[in-house]
Point group: C2
């Protein structure tokens, strides 16, 4: 099916675009009252993730309500470790919680790779099929997965953390185990992304949320190595890599076989562009907090960001997920500002 508004895909490939495309990380989520209504009718976050019809419904909401240039499938990066054998709960106001963790070779029994992803993650691919049917080609659909390093963090630490010291401990005390687990996660992640693409994802993004807690050498060894394997394996659609906080590694990330590199709000777009050149599209990077300001200030800050671009190769986004208590009207102002901005290149 032909995509009517394919700006995101063209921008990712470095093709001609009439204006910068825009979408928001976490756009399908708590900022929208329509999302909260759906969520409130179910037992919780995981039921929503696992119910394809409802996941599709909240995936499409921001396209209808906010006017974004892409939908991103509503799901969670932690469905992958769960499919591998490590169940988790999503605890309200606390975040994810794994009953078991992997801290020794014995724990690898909870890191299975020999299964059919359609069997265990069919609810995601089904949600993708339903979404595309209902979107009817209006905008592209983004598939996604967590990066191996970030998934490793949760499988070893068991929950969120400021330092992920349990996860990082293993890199020093048992690097062999670390590489084995990272390899397994990578293997499953590639199969999972390919299944999403087969189901209809038009572009995929890999989120390395905890890239920033490693120094450059360790991120090269335990992060980039596996991002590289994923980027090399996915050739069917454009690939976006987002490694939050990986200041030291953004050029190395851009050197991988990807189309787009995500830029967080702490990085300076002009510096990233200078470092990586014109061969990659950059995605980002408005500070999510800007959306707490007045409409006028949102417009001003958005234009400031757009004026800092010195290239056509951009997909506009926030520098991190939108905060749940932001007024959707501010999001609309952000989107409207991007849409009415005239590209100078």
């Amino acid at each position: 099916m032909k995509i009517q508004n394919d700006l995101v895909l063209r921008a990712a490939r470095g093709e001609a675009i009439e204006r910068y495309p825009v979408w928001l990380m976490r756009q399908a989520g708590r900022i929208l009252p329509e999302y909260r209504a759906v969520r409130g009718s179910l037992s919780g976050f995981k039921e929503l993730v696992e119910t394809p019809e409802r996941a599709a419904e909240v995936t499409i909401q921001p396209v209808d309500i906010l006017g974004v240039d892409a939908a991103i499938i509503f799901s969670d990066i932690l469905v992958v470790p769960e499919a591998m054998g490590l169940e988790y709960q999503m605890i309200e106001k606390k975040g994810p919680w794994f009953e078991k963790t992997i801290r020794s070779e014995e724990g690898l029994k909870f890191a299975q790779t020999e299964f059919d992803v359609e069997d265990r993650l069919g609810y995601v691919t089904e949600a993708i099929r339903i979404t595309n049917k209902e979107l009817n080609g209006r905008v592209p659909l983004i598939g996604f997965a967590g990066a191996p390093w970030t998934i490793f963090c949760y499988m070893t630490e068991g929950h969120g953390s400021k330092t992920f010291s349990e996860a990082r401990k293993i890199l020093y005390t048992n690097p062999t185990l670390a590489h084995e687990l990272l390899s397994r996660i990578t293997k499953v992640t590639i199969q999972y992304l390919k299944a999403q693409i087969k189901a209809g994802a038009h572009i995929v993004q890999v989120f390395d949320s905890w890239a920033g807690i490693l120094g450059k050498e360790q991120y090269t060894e335990f992060g980039l190595k596996y991002m590289d394997q994923i980027a090399a394996a996915i050739n069917e659609v454009p690939v976006t890599l987002f490694a939050k906080g990986a200041y030291n590694s953004v050029s190395d990330l851009a050197a991988l076989d990807c189309n787009t590199v995500g830029v967080d709000w702490n990085m300076q777009m002009s510096e990233v562009r200078a470092a990586i050149g014109e061969n990659r599209t950059l995605q980002g990077n408005l500070d999510p907090c800007v959306l707490y300001s007045s409409h006028q200030e949102v417009e001003r800050q958005t234009n400031n960001m757009l004026n800092s671009f010195i290239s056509r190769r951009h997909i506009v986004n926030l520098g991190h997920g939108v905060y749940p208590d932001v007024d959707p009207e501010k999001v609309k102002t952000f989107i409207k500002t991007v849409k009415s901005y005239e590209i100078q290149y």
Copy 2:
């Protein structure tokens, strides 16, 4: 009183040193069973902070037990907001919790500046006097305070956070309030540091733990501006500025009127040195997780770090506070390795 081992002071001032000095952030704390014994005999963390004799006791423990080249007064950065009128609790395993927060002009009544710091924070200066008496000049005593931006984060957010979005929201919605509160914190912090120095602190460090959550422009406006005021006001003793995660601002930080700049473990020492030149001492930056490895690996990684130094102007430390579950024997190996390393400059 003459300090017998004044390596830290000489290194801070860029004077000749026989070997690199070494101490650890959070060295007076839960890693030591001797600390846990003292702490266990009291009602909690805050009682320890507020009882000068016991605070002095745990301050000296790492000098006796680990052989560090400096003591750092056992205290908490949040004693400053408390003195200003905003009480907090330290909740076991959760961290600090403020009942009230400042999010409007009305809240400024909890940000008092017109008081005598000796009145409200005399327990800290008393702990400094006792510590120095008991140390008897063996090593210098480090005083410290939180940076205004970090204190602002807690006074507005009310507790720890991954994003500090409530704190950052104010920077966009009410920058006038933000600057007023930051100015007040700065005023009290300068008085507090001067009181510590008067009581006997030989060097002071300002900790900007949450510097890394701001982009460069905002950190310049809301962070560096107040660090600058503090650095300019303190001339009695050497000043160390540590802004964790402020990758984009490390050169600007080094340009302030300070002696030493702290370097976290995600930054590369060689790059920081290249950026700031030879006029400042650098402090850091071994990944705290290295201390989970074998003794041999601790030694190897410590030597790697030392070999990456291309200057004499270093004070060795971790790149963040030592993790509480680290084996003190590993800390000793770290310290021993530094002490036996021969400087090549």
